[in-house]
């Protein structure tokens, strides 16, 4: 949809800079046109471990962009990791979701359905298996530090109420590739009665993000097209607030 204010002043903010979590690397590289894909800044998964660290690193990346730009943050709220990020001279565009699970499942609604069906779900994805953490890895890190008995007690305290381990991927190939690793984690988690499931998501959410970015850059969409939807726009001078993600 193309629209403009009565004064005709509304113009798409360009150029476009994309800063995204590594978890979205495959999808973004595949879906973006070459000229945008080559300049995407992919950030380390490790930023998730300390949410405060994520905020700082992303703010630095945003502030380092010299020209006023449409800055796409390929993240969700991520445990408040994005809270407080200031747009500065730029316009920020962010998927309006709590975390990347919605982005891997293909929609916010799909995530909420899963969440409501089984709140006690631990999600595994390509990204988390490669560079993030999971219960088995955590246990392996605890053992040398605390001894195996204490390590297991600590694990029990953290995971005993979960019910399900889910491997989620946006395509079948990733499910196949990461199944052996996920099943290994699943066997470990059987001690708490976790059941193992796989969910084939889709790239629909990211596809829509890419479409919106291209339309904004081309001026065939305006920021009004994003109001109250699946995306959050923060105008220059604005700041990301937690409540903007609540829906």
């Amino acid at each position: 949809m193309t629209s403009s204010t009565p004064e005709g002043k509304e113009r798409a903010p360009t150029p476009v800079v994309i800063i995204a979590c590594q978890v979205l690397q495959d999808m973004l590289t595949h879906l973006l046109p070459q000229d945008l894909a080559k300049d995407v800044v992919f950030m380390d998964y490790g930023l998730h471990r300390v949410p405060g660290k994520m905020t700082g690193a992303l703010q630095e990346a945003v502030d380092a962009i010299e020209e006023p730009s449409l800055v796409v943050l390929g993240y969700g709220l991520c445990g408040n990791g994005l809270r407080g990020i200031r747009a500065g001279q730029h316009t920020l565009l962010v998927p309006r979701t709590d975390d990347c699970i919605a982005l891997l499942l293909g929609s916010y609604q799909a995530y909420m359905r899963e969440f409501q069906a089984v709140p006690g779900t631990y999600y595994l994805s390509k990204g988390w298996l490669e560079s993030g953490s999971h219960p088995l890895k955590e246990y392996e890190e605890y053992v040398p530090k605390y001894g195996s008995k204490e390590a297991m007690w600590l694990m029990d305290q953290q995971y005993q109420h979960y019910e399900r381990l889910v491997l989620v991927a946006h395509n079948q190939a990733d499910l196949e590739t990461y199944r052996p690793q996920a099943e290994k984690v699943a066997r470990f988690c059987e001690r708490w009665g976790f059941r193992y499931e796989e969910i084939l998501g889709s790239d629909a959410y990211i596809r829509r993000l890419v479409g919106l970015v291209l339309n904004l850059a081309a001026g065939t969409a305006t920021i009004m097209d994003t109001v109250n939807g699946d995306f959050l726009i923060v105008p220059p001078g604005g700041k990301i607030h937690q409540e903007q993600f609540m829906r």
Partner: protein, 213 residues
Amino acid sequence: MSRVYERIGTAIMEGDPEKTAKLAERGLKQGLSAKDILDNGMVVGMGEVGVRFKAGDMFVPEVLMSADAMQAGLGVLRPELLASGVQLIGKVLMGTVKGDLHDIGKNLVNMMCEGAGFDIVDIGFNADPEKFVEAIKEHQPDVVGMSAMLTTTMRAMAYTIKAIEEAGLRDRVKIMVGGAPVDAAFAERIGADGYGSNATAGVDLAQEFVSAA
């Protein structure tokens, strides 16, 4: 002040249950009151744990071990506290909200509230709004505490407060909220009476509520 207090505080910070229990016993033998051992030793140690956790100098495993140590110490002191007839200062009802099954923080607040002299009603984890409402009717607490660990679950706090309002119980209880993604602005927005950034802050809040009542 007895050296025992300081050593108990340290044992809690080190997460050593055996040492904490032993020191608590020694303190009692030396004639210190259970209440003083609790207030000047264990609660101080646990408070420091909260500060260090917030600052990123301590992590979940260490906090869990400290909580375990405090539990062991409380086990020694509890009979003494009951026998000494220390007056309960109020009743706190605690639960993690619907969809949230992370109860480490909630259990910590419970323990600290017990230490401060509250009667605790723990309705567990993943408690839906109706469960809170029914429990408030049944137990008539002074304070209701809710906790959530995720941004996906924190919104259930708002639904729970709404359910308490609709049941006509809102003016009978003070509501405090806490958990990793929660902050004071959120607490205010959803109509809670207060927000605790850690277990000690939660207890302070509960104490403030009952002393103002």
